[in-house]
Subunit: 269 residues, 2 copies
């Protein structure tokens, strides 16, 4: 089959279908999602995420071996669609597009697919609203060596393009499950994984808690914190002491601070 002509019109119906994948409804309906950027696409190819299309605009490449990456995606079955700069910029959700935008199939996120291994460190988050926060939590958990991220009762779809972006593609390498809170509590309990629920109502600091062995750090939503189900269901509650005048941290920041305290404890255990 000869390569198709490059897409040059912003009115192209395939381009419009691509843009619609920014909407959750369209992602839910199609089971597809968007991956934009060199680093993100590279991580997706490395993780063998099933790609259906790769849209490329060589005029926008930053010179990081994009052509080879596009070929690697093609080898894995992705259709390669070349696009002129103006329509590519329309499809891109970035200020500075890098000329690569892929469509991938959403992968399963059942708890039953997780295999956290012995004595794992996990991150559990509940009700996170901001895609940037959820993506940053993935990136941070991956850096901390967490065995998995469990997303409870999500208000943000983990396949939101801004999650993919803020995660820097760790969405594809960090094992991920989406579950309701009772199911997550039951699953962790069955595996003997302790849970440390972060809440300002706790009296014990996060560094006084034992974060070695099999343990999950549990962080609630930006606005409401953790649900009663988590506060009652966790092995213990911990707080991040804040000596300053401000009594709140960004939810992703709170997760990172407790995860890296766990890294410290585990390095010395």
């Amino acid at each position: 089959m000869p390569p198709a002509e490059p897409i040059t019109s912003t009115a192209n119906p395939r381009l419009k279908a691509l843009v619609r994948l920014r909407d959750r409804r369209d992602r839910d309906r199609s089971g597809l999602f968007l991956i934009e950027g060199y680093r993100e696409l590279r991580r997706a190819v490395e993780a063998a995420v099933p790609l259906t299309e790769v849209w490329c605009c060589p005029a926008l490449y930053l010179g990081q071996n994009e052509a080879a990456l596009v070929e690697a995606a093609r080898d894995r079955g992705a259709e390669v669609v070349e696009v002129a700069e103006t329509p590519f910029r329309k499809a891109s959700y970035r200020d500075r597009p890098e000329g690569l935008l892929a469509v991938a199939r959403q992968f399963p996120t059942g708890l039953d697919r997780l295999d956290p291994g012995p004595a794992p460190l996990l991150l559990v988050v509940e009700g996170i609203e901001k895609p940037g926060n959820l993506g940053t939590m993935m990136r941070t958990a991956a850096a901390a060596g967490a065995a998995a991220l469990i997303v409870c009762d999500p208000t943000t779809d983990p396949f939101n393009p801004n999650v993919v972006r803020a995660s820097l593609g760790t969405l594809f390498s960090l094992p991920l499950a989406v579950a309701d809170t009772p199911a997550a509590i039951a699953w962790l309990h069955a595996l003997g994984i302790r849970t440390a629920a972060t809440t300002p109502a706790a009296t014990r600091s996060h560094w006084e808690a034992d974060l070695t062995g099999g343990v999950a750090v549990v962080v609630g939503s930006e606005q409401y914190g953790l649900s009663a189900a988590w506060l009652q269901g966790a092995t213990e509650q911990v707080l991040i002491p804040m000596p300053g005048t401000v009594d709140s941290l960004n939810a992703a920041m709170a997760a990172g601070i407790v995860l890296f305290e766990a890294v410290r404890q585990r390095s010395q255990a």
Copy 2:
């Protein structure tokens, strides 16, 4: 003087002047900046930030005692301008405006204005590009009880509206200085404040460093890390060990992780 008529037109020239303050050039020229939102404006009033105008749109109030806050701003000399919903939404830089948008005078940010007191914890950042990161760093440093934030060689203006926003108004309570790197190093050295420069090239972990006493945590830009001047000029270099497969953290996250390790050490010192 009777109250002026509410502004109802999006073509109003004062409204256009307000919107122009989103641009750095206009802020630099006028010495003014924007403060949007209830919590942010409340912190500005509490900190006696000089306000010139408060634009209010009662139809958008969330019911957090906004009218009293507007009166407090008026008592401090701010002109109160009432705006209809459509023009207010045009002036707002938020998705969900809260009906409050103020113009304030930029305050001085010379190093000579800082008085960090004995044995302070400080945060020093260099070359930060993203306003959201700089604002998150302010919020996190304020929560950690830092005595001040020193912003070296900024590429982001600390009076950028998205810094104000991400800082949740801690821009007004956390003492702030803007300086070039050599001046910041000399100032810290003269005060006997040790400096811990975070870099992946370090061999010592951040938890092995002594973060008690007078110490500044130094964090570099998202893309390039710290300059040679900082790497050579710091008392010591520290790295955040990352057991995971991803070898990078968001710059604000890195700052928070090291600052809260300092909080831990200082609580036990």
